[in-house]
Symmetry: C2
Subunit: 384 residues, 2 copies
């Protein structure tokens, strides 16, 4: 049940009126402790939205009491006034919780370059605070949607007696360096900020970070991990990291399937790489190749476009030793024509492209979508 699955968390999702609809657009997640340890990872875009700049500062202290999130406006490229708006948002949450604004993280998503309507946003914080509950996780997940068609939630319970929950949104600008616009993860395990930070980076590196829908890096990407300690359990770090990775993988899968206008969910498995870095680089180059993404949309097993994308990278490989399989059929062997491409069945939604670089023992998987007329339509008609 989303971010409220672990003990110690309450949440709410309300209608502030930021969107041109009657949908929920403001979410509040509160950690009632006893611990407030937290960690965060943020967009690598050098143009960072005001809430990212604010929340990075908050997370540098390793403690978060609450996260307030809004859809309906990114508050990016809004200058000093926009930063003041984020500050005022955190202050209002601090006031209603009778706590410090310095431990309130802020996340925003929506159109870049417009100020948020603070006259509607601030009162909605009061409303959300009044509605905070142990059942509020779903409403919160609903409130952070933009063009997401469904809310993304996940949770896992550990045998050791703790829980990890999470919610995410990210149908649009799934990014190369961080795949979801906004993601809040919660746990009732008792772990300090340093452990949370290591676990979060390890988990997102192989999941959310490898979802690359269109190669665009958002100004607002934020993933937060909050620990209440309410379960009274301090798990083994490796076990916790593994479970957190499961939750992140689940959310990644949900984001992939709901990506804007996509008709295929494509897993690019790069094997035989000389390094992990090479494997990811090759995977991303393939994921960003518009021509290949069009071909997969047309259910055309055009492996030449795969090789062309591989060849655009600096990875270690010999063009005459690269093998490519599409949905299990090795259509390219040793850089040349392999098995009959007519044997490839591209009708299922799930597509797997396997690239064997024959250059070493490393591997990585990157996920992407096909390129469709619907993607063009959504992104030309909708100002994100």
């Amino acid at each position: 049940m989303s971010v409220t699955a672990p003990l110690g968390f309450r949440a709410a999702g309300v209608v502030a009126g930021l969107k041109n609809s009657d949908d929920r657009d403001l979410a509040l997640v509160v950690n009632d402790g006893p611990s407030r340890a937290a960690a965060g990872v943020f967009t690598r875009n050098r143009v960072k939205a005001a809430p990212v700049l604010w929340s990075q500062q908050v997370l540098s202290g390793g403690r978060v009491r609450a996260v307030v999130l809004n859809s309906g406006g990114a508050n990016a490229c809004t200058g000093a006034a926009g930063f003041q708006d984020t500050h005022a948002t955190a202050e209002r949450v601090g006031t209603v919780l009778d706590d410090s604004a310095g431990e309130v993280a802020v996340c925003s998503t929506g159109l870049i370059g417009e100020r948020l309507p603070m006259d509607r946003l601030l009162p909605a914080i009061d409303t959300a605070a009044a509605e905070l509950s142990r059942d509020g996780g779903l409403a919160a997940a609903d409130a952070i949607r933009t063009t997401d068609t469904v809310a993304k939630i996940s949770f896992r319970r550990a045998e050791a007696g703790y829980t990890i929950g999470g919610m995410a949104k990210g149908a649009g600008m799934l990014a190369p360096s961080l795949a979801t616009m906004l993601c809040v993860l919660t746990t009732d395990a008792d772990l300090d900020a340093a452990v949370l930070d290591r676990a979060l980076r390890a988990a997102t590196t192989v999941t959310l970070d490898r979802l690359d829908a269109d190669g665009c890096i958002s100004t607002n990407d934020t993933v937060l991990l909050l620990a209440s300690g309410a379960a009274g359990v301090t798990p083994d770090e490796a076990e916790f990291t593994a479970l957190l990775t499961e939750v992140c993988a689940d959310l990644t899968r949900q984001l992939l399937v709901d990506a804007e206008g996509a008709s295929k969910a494509i897993a690019i498995e790069v094997v035989g790489a000389a390094s992990d870095f090479d494997a990811v680089m090759v995977g991303r180059a393939i994921a960003r190749n518009n021509l290949l993404k069009c071909a997969i949309h047309g259910e055309d097993p055009n492996w030449g476009r795969v090789l062309s994308a591989v060849g655009s990278t600096e990875a270690v490989f010999d063009p005459d030793q690269v093998n490519v399989a599409i949905n299990g059929v090795w259509v390219c062997r040793n850089g040349s024509v392999g098995d009959d491409r007519d044997k490839v069945d591209l009708r299922p939604r799930d597509v797997t492209i396997t690239v064997d670089l024959s250059a070493g023992p490393e591997s990585a998987t990157v996920w992407t979508t096909d390129l469709t007329a619907e993607y063009v339509h959504e992104n030309s008609a909708y100002s994100t």
Copy 2:
């Protein structure tokens, strides 16, 4: 008049039957001298088609007697057998011209990963040789088209008494490192291979190389420059380079306007950059941003997506000092909201995006297209 505008060149374009149509698909361009000096630039893709590997070898000698070009098949990822096909193609040209195959360049374009039908290609070389003429430039330009809707040709006459001509094709995989699939430039000036090489690199760096339709790098990109010396004039190198740049710019413009499925021709002018490298890097990042390309297609002056693309680069800039104009309206000033975006008129086909990094004196222009449903359709229905 294309490649036959300068003295000393004959050309032909014939139907070999390589395409699934009755269109011309084989071109031959012959340099009758007295000089055979030549230079070439090739794709930076590490997966290179057989004709690229062959022609690089030919050009290393600095002399070219003839170029044979085919559409209807790229002869890429075809292994040793594909290389033999290219070799046999050059040999046949050598035979019909009673000359050395070692001075015959070969270019191919079309589907990757399939062998060429040599039983149809080789006889067509004989036909083309029989049809070679001083008027053959247009037929040759026509024969190298794939999804190009029109043939691209250009020429300029210098006051000093020499001429530069050229033809190009490249509606599809306009590349980041070399924008046209195939381009043959000719001149009757008398210049040695070293001068031609410098002039060609200088001219293409600021023209064909800065046309970035979809960020994909072809396996076959080739630009050749052949000098017959038939005008008996040895021009000043700088003057020649300037005129060659004009011809290349003209062809670049034609390629841009005819790019697959595009409805907008976008010039991205990056000014105020700390270095030329930075200016080009930022221009390319913007040119490859699918979200922005969709917005321009929808005639939405979404400058936030421009800033987001700038922020994804390593260029020197301060996010709070970047200015962006779209069709002359400075919609973003100092990284924040500028003039009224409703003043931007995006209805014309030509769109100019100006980015002022406020970081130095350097500038560069990169050209791209919008992302359209037609692009998706052409590239999902057509196996390139």
